[in-house]
């Protein structure tokens, strides 16, 4: 059975310049440092995510991967260094500006509203693509109603692509863990990102679920042509689909290259001593 396709959106969004016309740009992390009190969570970390590529950020626990993500997302403020998406400087931007720039993100702990439906949760991702304050939405002005319907259609498409079609109106709290992670992914996609940040998407999944996820992520990359930055522990997932891998340890970058290069890097093997490096 062939999986449902994820149609690239061609309709213009309410704002001038629909997202379909956006081309992904490279993400440059330049000498980013982050300190928590005396601890250096990130120490002059630099790497580049080429546009349209699948880039993985790996490292042992506590290496600073999530901190790096949070800096890129604007949730943490770096003490030093810059983050650039193409020409735009992301450093120091308020986190809520990023969705509007096409940066979508999924979370380690899914961070969803369990009492709301899948549709409702994923629709949150459309927030930056819509307008309307309390009175406009409350009075159900025709344009807000129309926009809501249109975005809901798109969200249903995204959910169907991720196999969430049948449960789109079910409360998230009632779903099994794997489905919950997919809702989180759907929400990140709903932002219509040019850069997708995935924070341990395979956490808690078994082998077959992980393999399936790998396929989904690859497919997202090929069909949408967007850049994906992936933080992961699971080596199988990473080495199988990533174009490039950056390895962190104790907040420092210790390797950066193709999966094959990184796998045979002695520093990487040392950092993972005791764990199988392949």
């Amino acid at each position: 059975m062939t999986p449902p396709e994820l149609p690239v959106t061609t309709e213009a969004s309410p704002r001038a310049g629909g997202f379909a016309t956006r081309t992904p740009e490279k993400l440059c992390v330049e000498n980013v440092s982050l300190r928590f009190g005396g601890i250096r969570a990130l120490d002059e970390v630099s790497f580049t995510v080429a546009p349209g590529s699948l880039h993985a950020l790996i490292g042992p626990n506590g290496a600073g991967k999530s901190s790096c993500f949070n800096v890129i997302s604007g949730l943490y403020r770096a003490d030093d260094g810059r983050v650039r998406l193409g020409e735009t400087d992301l450093t120091g931007l308020a986190p809520h500006k990023l969705a509007g720039l096409g940066v979508g993100r999924s979370f380690q702990n899914a961070a969803l509203s369990p009492g709301s439906t899948v549709l409702d949760n994923v629709m949150l991702g459309r927030h930056a693509l819509t307008r309307g304050g309390f009175l406009e939405v409350g009075l159900r002005l025709p344009w807000t109603v129309r926009a809501e319907r249109r975005h809901a259609e798109r969200v249903r498409e995204i959910c169907a692509f991720l196999g969430l079609g049948p449960v789109v109106d079910a409360p998230v709290g009632a779903l099994p863990y794997g489905a919950v992670k997919r809702v989180d992914l759907a929400r990140a996609l709903a932002v219509e990102p040019v850069l997708l940040l995935l924070d341990e998407p395979a956490a808690g999944m078994n082998a077959s679920e992980t393999a399936e996820l790998a396929g989904t992520i690859s497919e997202i990359r090929t069909e949408l042509g967007i850049s994906i930055l992936l933080v992961e522990h699971d080596m199988g997932l990473v080495m199988g689909i990533a174009d490039r891998v950056t390895v962190l340890d104790f907040g420092r970058r210790i390797a950066d290259g193709t999966p094959a290069e990184v796998q045979s890097d002695p520093d990487v093997i040392k950092a993972y001593l005791g764990t199988e490096a392949a």
Binding site: P3, L112, V137, G138
Partner: protein, 387 residues
């Protein structure tokens, strides 16, 4: 790949619905029920006498206030104990804006009552916005206690700004409401509907009903759409909300402004209902902490975040003392005076105090959650959190 996707979905409870229910029976029934209720409410003045209409109006004041509070506390997750302050602000603003200009004792601007009502709502909203930066920095219970500060400030303001409020001993009378010259008192054109004269009590009933319906519909619409979604996201996980494009500070500020606007409207309705604006002498009065708590009780009992729940909560908390007072004459209850006497207000306080305890103990989702479970059993689906 999709095989395992499908199988995962198969393990879900069988109540999962197909992707797009075109004709949702539950929704049609619900809309029909609301319309039926509206018809009944429109017809009630033809059958009830003025005392009962007055009681109903008081419940509607509660409804308007409770709707605003449930939006900020239940949807946006911001605990506010300041509601009484916004009632005072709205009531004062209405009275000042519509008050006569030539009075020596108090200030008035002589504006049209309809405009004054809008002005009262606007003033309250602005005050809510002014507090929002403070609210944005505070979390959870710290915010709740900080909002108490507003009630005390309001108390002090009421006592000292006598040219505006009339002072605690005398107070001042608000201008009677009129819309485009049509007075909502016993004066003006003598109307009758099906043989029943439509005088002050009936006219005020319809006015309050109109305000309540508008308040309800707008709140419901907003909660179900983009705005409510952003509030719930802020409530459940601020970081995730921010990353999805929601400006957390703006969302919180907006929720506060909306809730204060509703509070201000309820306040204007309050002074019209009492036919006087009289600030309290202590923090326990018409605009005191007890009132903030009463509104919070309405919201808890109804279910945090549920707009219809807020209506039912208001019915109970504001309705009970009124109904008891009306029946007490017939039943001979509450005839005792002096020490230890039970009064309608006292009994109602017991009831809603107990109701809060029961709700938290057994069904933290309040009456809304109970209602959802009943409809679920009838329509065999798992309905999500109702906005």
């Amino acid at each position: 790949m999709s095989d395992s996707a499908v199988s995962e979905v198969d393990t879900l409870p069988e109540t999962a619905e197909p992707a797009r229910p075109r004709r949702d029976p539950a929704k049609l029934v619900r809309t029909a029920a609301w319309l039926a209720l509206l018809v009944v409410l429109l017809a009630l003045p033809l059958y009830l006498d003025a005392a009962w209409l007055k009681a109903g109006q008081y419940m509607m004041i509660g409804a308007v206030g409770a709707i605003g509070l449930t939006l900020v506390v239940g949807q946006a997750g911001q605990l506010s104990l300041a509601h009484a302050f916004f009632l005072l602000a709205g009531g004062t603003a209405y009275t000042v804006l519509s008050g006569p200009t030539g009075d020596d004792r108090v200030i008035g601007f002589g504006l049209d009552p309809g405009l004054s009502l809008l002005g009262a709502v606007a003033v309250a909203a602005l005050l809510g916005l002014a507090f929002a930066p403070v609210a944005g920095r505070l979390r959870g219970i710290y915010l709740g206690v900080a909002s108490l500060a507003l009630v005390f400030l309001g108390l002090y303001f009421g006592q000292s700004a006598e040219e505006l409020t009339g002072g605690t001993s005398t107070g001042r009378t608000p201008a009677p409401f009129s819309l485009f010259g049509f007075p909502f008192t016993n004066d003006g054109p003598q109307l009758a509907l099906l043989g029943v004269p439509i005088r002050a009590a009936e006219r005020m009933w319809y006015l309050f009903l109109l305000l309540t319906v508008i308040a309800f519909v707008i709140a419901r619409g907003a909660a179900g759409g983009r705005v409510g979604r952003s509030w719930r996201a802020v409530r459940d996980n601020e970081a995730a909300a921010a990353v999805m494009g929601v400006s957390v500070l703006r969302a919180k500020a907006g929720a506060f402004a909306v809730s204060s606007a509703y509070g201000g409207l309820a306040g204007a309705m309050t002074v019209l209902w009492f036919d006087i604006l009289k600030p309290d002498e202590s923090e326990f009065g018409t605009y005191g902490i007890n009132v903030s708590i009463a509104f919070l009780a309405m919201v808890i009992i109804g279910g945090l975040g549920s707009v219809p729940g807020a209506l039912v909560g208001a019915l109970i908390v504001n309705g009970l003392p009124q109904v008891l007072a009306l029946y007490s004459a017939d039943l001979g209850w509450f005839s005792g005076t002096g020490d230890g006497a039970l009064t309608p207000v006292l009994v109602s306080s017991f009831v809603y105090g107990a109701a809060i305890i029961l709700v938290v103990l057994f069904e933290p989702g309040g009456l809304a959650a109970i209602g959802r479970r009943i409809t679920q059993r009838r329509f065999r689906r798992q309905p999500p959190e109702e906005p």
